[in-house]
């Protein structure tokens, strides 16, 4: 049964989903979008701390840029108000532009850094900007290898 199940999984993924780590929001600076850079223990054996922290810090910078209150955002706000917000039918808001940049960045990070290590980052916008979800996959062949310190272990089930 387990084998058949794995065959099914293989239809969708080349590896099976073992665990998910959630990076929560950091509210120490108010309601602006910022994620905690604390390195989760489940990823200790999967990825270098610096790489992870770089990713999160870059994401935080992107979000800060999107939510920045300054000359450009005022201009956009006033222009939008003056045109009764109809201008957004043709134009994208700055926030949306930055979100696109973020999506591209995450995809690039996944391809270059995370996927080779059996990890996958989900764009926070798909989780309501609450968390950065990192899925940990386990190789089919190496079912014995741990995908995280406390995690999947065939042994604990027995």
């Amino acid at each position: 049964m387990a084998t058949e199940f794995h065959n099914l999984q293989e239809l969708r993924h080349s590896a099976s989903l073992a665990n998910k780590v959630f990076i929560q929001r950091d509210y120490s600076e108010g309601t602006t979008c910022k994620f905690q850079t604390k390195f989760p223990s489940e990823l200790e054996s999967r990825i270098e701390r610096t790489l992870f922290e770089d990713t999160v810090k870059t994401l935080n910078n992107y979000y800060a840029e999107a939510e920045k209150i300054g000359g450009q955002s005022y201009l956009e706000g006033c222009l939008a108000c003056a045109t009764a917000y109809l201008i957004f039918l043709c134009m994208e808001t700055r926030y949306e532009k930055v979100l696109k940049k973020i999506a591209k960045y995450i995809q690039e990070q996944n391809e270059k850094i995370y996927a080779p290590r059996g990890l996958l980052i989900t764009d926070p916008i798909e989780r309501g900007m609450r968390v950065i979800e990192i899925s940990i996959y386990e190789d089919r062949g190496s079912s014995g290898s741990s995908s995280g310190s406390s995690s999947v272990s065939g042994s604990t089930a027995r």
Binding site: M1, F22, C81, M129, E133, S153
Partner: protein, 495 residues
């Protein structure tokens, strides 16, 4: 027979993995129904129009009243007063009136129809992860865990973040759960029945523009109708002036009463904006100096101008709920159980929530099937015969024998020859309104109800059980249930 088993198992497992948000009767391999948009399965109590483009609260009666009042008053003004005023004074008056009217209408519709900043509910895996963390923090003891709060220091001020039982998230600061719409809303100001929607982060500026422009419009109409009557009475006398345009009287009355409330409200919100507070915070006195000497508003930028600019001209975040997106057919699920009960139980019994998932995925688990409250201890389930158990189910070995427990009616495990526990949920929770449970069901997916691999073999019951299972998930009210089930689960798995 063996082939039949694997066939049904594959079907079971496939449906188990697939979409979180599929309808009860929909199974992936059937693909009879067209793809649904996310607004159709939205768990809150909002109403959607124009295929998800428009989002409003459930009660919209007062909104129509607002609309009618504005349209009728302005209509009367333009029809009866403007010709006279344009002639006697200047044609600029109707033009300004027209611009104001359009602005009021635009901002009203924008406030009413847009997403106020609803926070989507936590995905099952997130909820499980949070539950696990909370459990660890509490030490895993006690039937009733203490109220779930998290403290965070923002700009030197300690703010408590509350856990929302409905949405299964820790609310961000300034967010609040609207009981009318059953959603958590970011920077929740208040629920306004007059606009038929919540006022939150994404539509606060429109709301403010609406009440500000409405105050100007009301004062404008009031002033010019009075002017019209006065000028008219100079020519013809007061009473005949009133007789000539009876509409003016109605307008004056409406505007007179509106002015006090609307202008007052505008003034209040101007104060709120300049101090960067929400109505919610102001009413509760969260940042009032009366609470303590060191109590101050950590979100304020310090000066009025910056606060105003930030509230009105700041960046507009996009909607987080993606109303018009399509429901994804398959989302990789980590833990099949979607409610705290099973995951919780699994966690406890396996010491890591991942183990709960992986046994399911990879090998037979000793996890009890489901948690429910019907206090059946082991014995047969004749009453649950609604779910037929196929042959293969009975022969599947489960990890451990299951001793009878008081609350977790997992008699299914006992001998692996019992009916799936799915049946239990039906009896226990039939009291829940089916509608609500279906809603919850959509959100939580019954496929995610955990079952040991053995259970997966029961292909046909799965489809049937979906609707029945739906009823049993009700987070807030079943907290104690969680605990009971957990106890039971722990006992079971420890044998």
């Amino acid at each position: 027979m063996h082939l039949g088993v694997s066939e049904s198992m594959r079907e079971c497992e496939y449906s188990q993995i697939s979409t979180r948000s599929s309808t009860p009767m929909e199974t992936p391999y059937k693909k009879r129904t067209p793809k649904k948009r996310k607004w159709e399965i939205f768990p809150g109590r909002n109403k959607f129009y124009c295929d998800g483009r428009i989002m409003m609260a459930k009660q919209t009666g007062v909104f129509y009243l607002t609309l009618i009042l504005i349209l009728v008053t302005c209509g009367l003004f333009f029809t009866f007063d403007c010709p006279f005023l344009a002639q006697q004074l200047t044609p600029v008056i109707p033009v300004i009136g027209g611009v104001l009217f359009l602005f009021v209408l635009g901002t009203l519709l924008r406030t009413s129809f847009s997403d106020p900043g609803v926070l989507p509910r936590a995905s099952p895996d997130e909820a499980a992860d949070l539950e696990r963390q909370i459990d660890v923090a509490n030490g895993g003891t006690g039937y009733r865990p203490p109220p779930r709060t998290k403290e965070v220091v923002i700009n030197g001020q300690t703010v408590k973040l509350k856990y929302c039982f409905t949405c299964k998230i820790f609310r961000p600061p300034r967010a609040s759960h609207c009981s009318l719409c059953d959603n958590c809303v970011e920077r929740f100001d208040h629920h306004c029945p007059w606009v038929g929607n919540c006022v939150g982060r994404r539509n606060y500026r429109f709301f403010y523009m609406f009440i500000l422009s409405l105050s100007f419009l009301t004062i404008f109409i009031f002033a010019f109708v009075i002017t019209h009557i006065i000028l008219s009475s100079h020519q013809n006398g007061f009473l005949s002036a009133l007789k000539n345009s009876p509409a003016s009287v109605l307008e004056v009355v409406v505007c007179f009463f509106s002015v006090w409330s609307i202008v007052g409200l505008s003034g209040f919100h101007t104060y709120l904006i300049s101090s960067n507070q929400t109505t919610n915070e102001d009413i509760k006195g969260s940042w009032s100096s009366k609470r303590g000497k060191d109590n101050y508003n950590p979100y304020s930028y310090g000066n009025i101008f910056t606060n105003c600019c930030a509230a009105l001209c700041g960046p507009l975040p996009p909607s987080l709920i993606d109303r018009r997106g399509f429901v994804e057919a398959d989302v990789p699920q980590l833990a099949p159980p979607t409610n705290g009960i099973t995951i919780y139980g699994s966690t406890q019994s396996q010491q890591s929530h991942t183990a709960a998932a992986t046994p399911l995925l990879q090998h037979q688990s000793s996890e009890p099937v489901i948690l429910t409250t019907s206090p059946e201890n082991g014995g047969t389930l004749p009453g649950r015969a609604s779910l037929a158990l196929t042959g293969p189910c009975t022969s599947l070995p489960l990890g451990q024998p299951t001793p009878p427990t008081s609350t977790s009616s997992l008699s299914c495990h006992e001998a692996a020859d019992k009916l799936p526990v799915h049946g239990h949920t039906l009896t226990h929770n039939h009291s829940n309104p089916l509608q609500e449970s279906l809603f919850q069901h959509h959100f939580l997916t019954p496929e995610e109800v955990p079952s040991p691999p053995g259970m997966l073999h029961c292909g046909s019951p799965m489809g049937h059980s979906h609707t029945t299972q739906a009823g049993f998930y009700d987070p807030a009210s079943q907290d104690s249930l969680h605990e009971d089930s957990v106890r039971g689960l722990v006992k079971l798995s420890s044998v």
